[in-house]
């Protein structure tokens, strides 16, 4: 399991990445996809996921659609045009960060 401290700064990028690959997703779906893709190493909690989704929506990067399923109301999230551009730049920034971290953790790979 990956700790929450490490996840804190990356959650926005994870959400943006998933939404850039899917037309729309709802909260539970996002947690399921993350769990599957990370092979159970990342488990998103209610407390972590929903504030991030609402903040991204308030900032204009996500839009929501309501779907009634019987008595339940499901909220689907999708990227706005602005959100798509921002997601691309955020992911690029994150890739650069991962590369830098990889280098810092292993500056002299074996065979080099």
């Amino acid at each position: 399991m990956i700790s929450n401290d490490l996840l804190k700064g990356t959650l926005r990028t994870i959400v943006l990445k998933l939404l850039s690959e899917n037309d729309r997703l709802y909260g539970y779906e996002i947690t399921k996809k993350v769990e599957e893709m990370s092979k159970g190493k990342i488990r998103l909690t209610f407390g972590a996921l929903y504030p991030v989704l609402h903040k991204l929506e308030a900032e204009g990067y996500l839009r929501t659609e309501k779907e009634n399923i019987g008595k339940r109301v499901r909220i689907h999230y999708s990227l706005t045009d602005n959100g798509k551009n921002w997601a691309a730049s955020k992911m690029e920034e994150f890739r650069e960060f991962v590369n830098t971290m990889t280098y810092i953790l292993n500056p002299y790979p074996s065979g080099a």
């Binding site: 539970y28 209610f46 407390g47 929903y50 504030p51 903040k55 900032e59 109301v73």
Partner: protein, 404 residues
């Protein structure tokens, strides 16, 4: 296989509401999320209540309220703007107060305006937003009365500073009001809140410090702006005695004047003595006028020397003397009086006595001394009565010298 019924969903919604969830959208999505988590259990034959209880029991206490709180703080852009406005108003207000105070100390004319504007921004801009955001950000049981009491206490205190700075009536009422509010409303409300949450000692220590500081501040303000009762009484007694001494010497001088006709004096001396009497009368009237202006500054236009009450006012004396200095009303008469008195008393010993009573720098020293800014009204009145008393005493000595 059993699926979720409408009753199950109603149960989840009711439970979320019971746990403090009020945001409709969040309620919808958390209900859906919980349903999605329970459905696999139902497919495996676990009943709804067992599955729901096991899910909820594994969650942290207050998790739903915390999520809602975090969303409200981070995703509510209107709230974010409000907080930014609060910081901007706080900075502008405190900068105006600091520059205003600096200008006032250095007698730069716009100081008072800057200070007042800064205090008004803090009272009506920064503080309401501060209390509102602080109230919103509290996760635990909120006590709105405590926040209102805190706001009223601080507002009254700042208003008292503003009113006293601008010499507006009501400064003492605002000051005493803030102290009474702090002692009888804010402190008891705070104590009740603290005792209800006895385990949260961290915030209690902070609030207790605030209460202590307010109390110390209150004591300081009262002691700094008010004279001790005994001191005030002794000044008042001195003032009454100086006035009756003045009346005595004045009437003694009147009888000496009536005796001048029995003496064979040259017309030149008589003219000078008449001039001396005229100047001493002018000095006495001008001093009376200064004193009257002082009590009016302290107590308002209807105040007189017989009915004024603000004995410990520390602004009136300096303010009136300063404006008199600009018009140079008293000091020129003092110089004239001294000249006439010395002409009438050629003997150096007599001149010394006149000089002793009529020290021309007596009043001027006060004009130029920054300490006179804080002289309480009753002490200032006593000083001025002593001044006119000494004029009469100098005149008495001159008349006695001539008559002997």
């Amino acid at each position: 296989m059993r699926s979720l019924t409408d009753n199950d969903i109603d149960f989840i919604i009711a439970d979320l509401e019971k746990r403090g969830l009020t945001m409709p959208v969040l309620k919808d999505e958390l209900t859906d999320h919980i349903c999605c988590l329970i459905e696999p259990d139902l497919e495996n034959g676990i009943d709804f209540v067992t599955s729901y209880n096991s899910l909820v029991n594994n969650l942290e206490d207050n998790i739903f309220r915390d999520i809602q709180h975090n969303i409200m703080l981070s995703a509510n852009l209107k709230y974010q703007k409000m907080k930014k406005t609060m910081f901007v108003l706080g900075i502008i207000g405190s900068l105006l107060i600091m520059t205003g105070a600096f200008s006032k100390v250095n007698n730069i004319p716009i100081g008072g305006l800057g200070l007042s504007l800064g205090l008004l921004i803090i009272i009506f801009g920064f503080l309401p937003l501060f209390y509102f955001t602080a109230y919103k950000e509290k996760r635990d049981k909120k006590n709105i009365l405590l926040d209102i009491a805190g706001y009223v206490t601080v507002t009254l205190f700042i208003l008292s500073v503003l009113f006293s700075n601008q010499h507006w009536p009501g400064a003492a009422i605002a000051r005493n009001g803030s102290l009474l509010f702090a002692i009888f409303i804010f402190a008891p409300l705070y104590m009740v809140t603290v005792f209800r949450k006895a385990n949260e000692t961290k915030s209690s220590v902070g609030y207790l410090m605030v209460i202590l500081l307010i109390a110390i501040g209150g004591i300081y303000i009262v002691s700094a702006t008010r004279m001790e009762k005994g001191t005030k009484e002794s000044y008042a007694k001195g003032y009454r005695e100086a006035n009756s001494k003045f009346a005595m010497v004045r009437s003694a001088n009147d009888s000496l004047y009536s005796r001048l006709g029995t003496k064979d004096l040259s017309p030149e001396v008589l003219a000078k003595v008449t001039d001396l009497r005229k100047v001493s009368t002018i000095l006495s009237l001008k001093t009376d006028r200064l004193q009257d202006a002082m009590v009016k500054v302290a107590d308002g236009d209807s105040a007189t020397l017989e009915n004024f009450t603000s004995l410990s006012d520390r602004k009136a004396f300096y303010k009136v003397l300063l404006s008199d200095m600009k018009n140079s009303n008293v000091s020129s008469e003092v110089v004239k009086f001294k000249f006439l008195a010395k002409t009438l008393c050629p003997n150096p010993v007599d001149q010394g006595i006149v000089e002793e009573n009529m020290n021309a720098n007596y009043l001027l020293a006060y004009y130029l001394n920054p300490e006179s800014k804080n002289i309480p009204l009753i002490a200032g009145l006593l000083y001025l009565t002593n001044f006119k008393l000494h004029v009469e005493m100098a005149e008495y000595h001159v008349l006695k010298t001539i008559l002997n």
